[in-house]
Amino acid sequence: MKTPDLTVPALLRGTARRLAGALAVLIGAATVAFAALQLIPGDPVTVMLGPGTAATPEVKAQIRAQYGLDQPVLVQYLHYLGRLATGDLGESYQQQRPVADLIGDQLAPTVELALAAMFLALVSALLAALATAGRRGPARSAGSLAELLAVSSPSYWIGILLLTAFSFQLRIFPVAGDQDLSALVLPAVTLALPLTGVLAQVLREGLETALGQPFTLTARSRGLAPVAVLLRHALRHAAASALTLTGWLTGSLLGGAVLVESVFGRPGIGALSLQGTTSKDMPLVVGLVLLSALVFVTISIAVDLLYLAIDPRLRKR
């Protein structure tokens, strides 16, 4: 049996399985959001109208019928899924605007922030790991301590420290907002620092595991310099070992943005999430949950494909 005829159907089947899994996760996330909606104490209509609104029972009943809230829960659930399937995320209770528009407006600053942070974190973690891998002595201890410190520092505190130092004392960067690139620096560094710590640890462990394997000795015995062994051999192994974590961390940046956007007063998905949950604006929250899940499943599919590219052992024959 030659390989090519087998590969394409296998790849298709793999892709189909991944897409089905992704869909299942999305439906699951929608279900979690719906369940949360049902579990919120109090009458949804009262929440919807906001505090202090004295509506007559008749009006309330009318609204209830309008949103289908008088139906049995299961029927509501199916309706809800049906609407989501057509791409209809509903309207925000609070702002009376389509949720999709609200999210669309706020997406750009957060994506900008997340990408900048991930780029910073990856580059600095990689440099730190390469500089300290396989070393002993003071450089290594200093690296370890820095990583531990980065991992142990809450991002909201890092943000406050940076603001105090660079915005209030030194006045290098603006205090708040998202006007230009300089306003992006501090939030991106804040979001990146804990990630850098985690990634540097995992990458260094990956590098050191690879350096302990027989193929490293083989490569050295061919006349390769230690640096060349690190770059040509160990790095791919380390990348493979850090891939899953990197994917997951990228997905969780959306969560990290909640705190960082709050500290720096930036608009974005994080700020929107906080606003949605504190005001119990459920359609908005549902939309945000689905967005996160979508980002996550997209990333995990990308991670899976990257694994196949890096590690030939995972490819089916």
Partner: protein, 594 residues
């Protein structure tokens, strides 16, 4: 002028003196084998010769000359010009001796790139030639594949091809055939032999004297960091003078050792351990005295480092006369009720098993009678371990059946099997993984005793101590954790646990393949003693023909999931009927023919 001249090499790792005063020479077209067990310093010596001893090592030598260059004075960049270009290194085939994430072609071509021996465009052609030269068929396809897509033998050939890419004058091969099946091992040795004939100097590192014997011009035996005996291969094998070499040779199991003990007498334990400058072997040596413990002798005119060298040839007579020969052993066994009935304990009837549609065991039928040892031989992937698991009731056959004591055994719910489990016990290849990592020896053996109804407390401790004594372990080990034991001690604990329930059948799956030859000898002797004393029936599974020839009454040969041949050991090995058995015999280094 000799190509490689090492004089007085010492390697220390902190306080550990790994290599002491090692001297050796090697010329083009010559093969020197350095033989020793794990911890003897042989691999450290090999790595030192390519300047890769490691950052924590201190290397000193009176002389370390390679082709006129003083290696001790080489800077790291100059070393790099030597490695892969003048001296090549081949490691044991593990899946990871070649980088698993790169193609075989890229790995083979790496020395060409590093030493700028061929421009990029010419490299594929050179890789093609190198792989062909190493006996890799279909080199184009193989070069594009990754290491995991190649068999162990092909991987080893590719590894050799990559070490040869720089056309080195000296090739160092560290256990180049250890993980390979016997037939493949023979082919790789032939490849190395051809290299030597073409003028390459070959330094072969191995734990197995019998493997290197067919290839090496000279042998150096290492123990405790020192060369204890060295000389031309034939002379050293025929007339070993150092007690360690003699014990090593006597410990190799095979047809000629049937019915005899493999391990030497237990050395006198009284007397202090050898001092720092004493003979490292004094601890184990039966002839050791105060002089041996105090100072190590120089190599004498015969190349032996011993105060009391033996001068006679190593006779085919047993090192230690056994109490009984095999035939009287049989007679005695016939007198025991178990064996007298010739009762069949295990019956495997047309058993097949497939994993994911791939057949692993196909239509295998065999039986195990009371008191006999059945050797099950096969190379890796032959299905022998799966068969063992089916016999143990850990795996259900797809078709066919296993009967134990004449009653159904396979196809039962576990709760029906459980009461009869005490009849059939197991010893695995890797004892460490078969112990709960949190448990002490006492608890490990105690768990087995608990199943026999011996209550916790003094009675159980007493019985545990008895069992440990039976397998030759001191009661002092009761509170140790498995990680604190040596490989041989672990396997003894595993055997003690298996004996605890008083089984009639012992299934041993490669119980000695992870052990050094001398420790293997002790465990094989122990199994033989236990069998004689308790009348156990043993299903002994091994890839090593020599081990099976040494102790099996009957032999079953497995290949690709099928049983190709079964018969009485002597007859089967004298007149193998199946083609595969003949090939296996031909590939086995010493044992079979000798």
């Amino acid at each position: 002028m000799t190509l490689l001249a090492v004089d007085g090499l010492d390697v220390r790792f902190g306080g550990v003196h790994a290599v002491r005063d090692v001297s050796l020479t090697l010329d083009r077209g010559e093969c020197l084998a350095v033989v020793g067990e794990s911890g003897s310093g042989k691999s450290v010596t090999a790595r030192t010769l390519v300047g890769l001893t490691g950052s924590g090592a201190t290397v000193t030598a009176r002389a370390l000359h390679f082709d006129g260059t003083d290696l001790t004075r080489l800077s790291e960049p100059r070393w790099r010009a030597v490695r892969g270009r003048r001296i090549g290194l081949v490691l044991q085939d593990a899946l990871t001796s070649l980088d698993p994430l790169r193609t075989v072609g890229a790995e083979v071509a790496e020395p060409l790139r590093v030493h700028r021996l061929a421009p990029r465009a010419e490299r594929p052609a050179r890789v093609h030639d190198l792989l062909t030269g190493a006996g890799v068929p279909d080199p184009e396809r193989r070069a594009a594949q990754h290491p995991h897509q190649l068999s162990g033998g092909l991987r080893q050939r590719a590894l050799i091809a990559s070490a040869l890419a720089g056309e080195p004058d000296l090739l160092i091969a560290d256990e180049p055939t250890t993980a390979l099946d016997a037939t493949v091992q023979a082919q790789v040795l032939d490849l190395l032999d051809a290299l030597r004939r073409s003028g390459t100097a070959l330094l072969l590192i191995s734990h197995d004297l019998s493997v290197v014997a067919r290839l090496a011009d000279r042998v150096a035996v290492m123990f405790g960091g020192r060369i204890v005996e060295t000389g031309p291969t034939e002379g050293l094998l025929a007339r070993p003078r150092h007690p360690y070499t003699r014990a090593l040779l006597a410990a190799v199991p095979g047809a000629r050792t049937r019915g005899r003990r493999l391990s030497g007498p237990v050395p006198a334990t009284d007397g202090p351990p050898p001092g720092p400058d004493g003979c490292p072997y004094a601890r184990r040596c039966p002839a050791a005295d105060a002089v041996c413990r105090a100072t190590v002798p120089p190599l004498d005119g015969h190349g032996t480092r011993c105060w009391h060298p033996a001068s006679d040839t190593l006779t085919p007579e047993p090192v230690v006369t056994p109490q009984k020969t095999r035939s009287t052993d049989r007679e005695e066994r016939r007198r025991r009720p178990d064996a007298a009935t010739g009762e069949t304990l295990v019956e495997v009837d047309g058993v097949s098993k497939a994993y994911r549609g791939r057949p692993v065991v196909e239509e295998v039928s065999l039986r195990l009678d009371a008191g006999e040892t059945l050797g099950l031989v096969g190379e890796s992937g032959s299905g022998k371990t799966t068969l063992a698991r089916i016999v143990l009731g850990l795996e259900e056959p797809d078709t066919g059946a296993v009967r134990l004591d004449g009653q159904p055994w396979s196809g039962l719910p576990e709760r029906h099997r459980r009461p009869r489990r005490s009849h059939i016990q197991a010893v695995q290849q890797d004892p460490l993984s078969s112990f709960d990592p949190r448990w002490t020896v006492a608890r490990v053996v105690g768990e087995a005793l608990a199943r026999t109804g011996i209550p916790r407390g003094r009675a159980r401790t007493l019985r545990t101590t008895e069992l440990l004594d039976q397998v030759g372990l001191a009661a002092a080990l009761l509170d140790r954790r498995p990680t604190e034991l040596s490989g041989g001690q672990r396997q003894r604990v595993a055997i003690a646990r298996a004996l605890a329930s008083g089984p009639r059948i012992l299934v041993c799956d490669e119980p000695v393949s992870a052990l050094d030859v001398s420790v293997q000898a002790q465990i094989l002797d122990l199994l033989e003693d236990l069998r004689r004393d308790t009348g156990l029936a043993v299903l002994f599974i091994s890839h090593d023909l020599g081990v099976v020839q040494h102790l099996a009454d009957r032999v079953a040969v497995m290949h690709d999931g099928r049983l190709v041949e079964t018969g009485h050991a002597e007859e089967l090995f004298a007149r193998p009927a199946a083609e595969y058995t003949r090939r296996l015999l031909a590939a086995t280094p010493l044992g079979a023919g000798a």
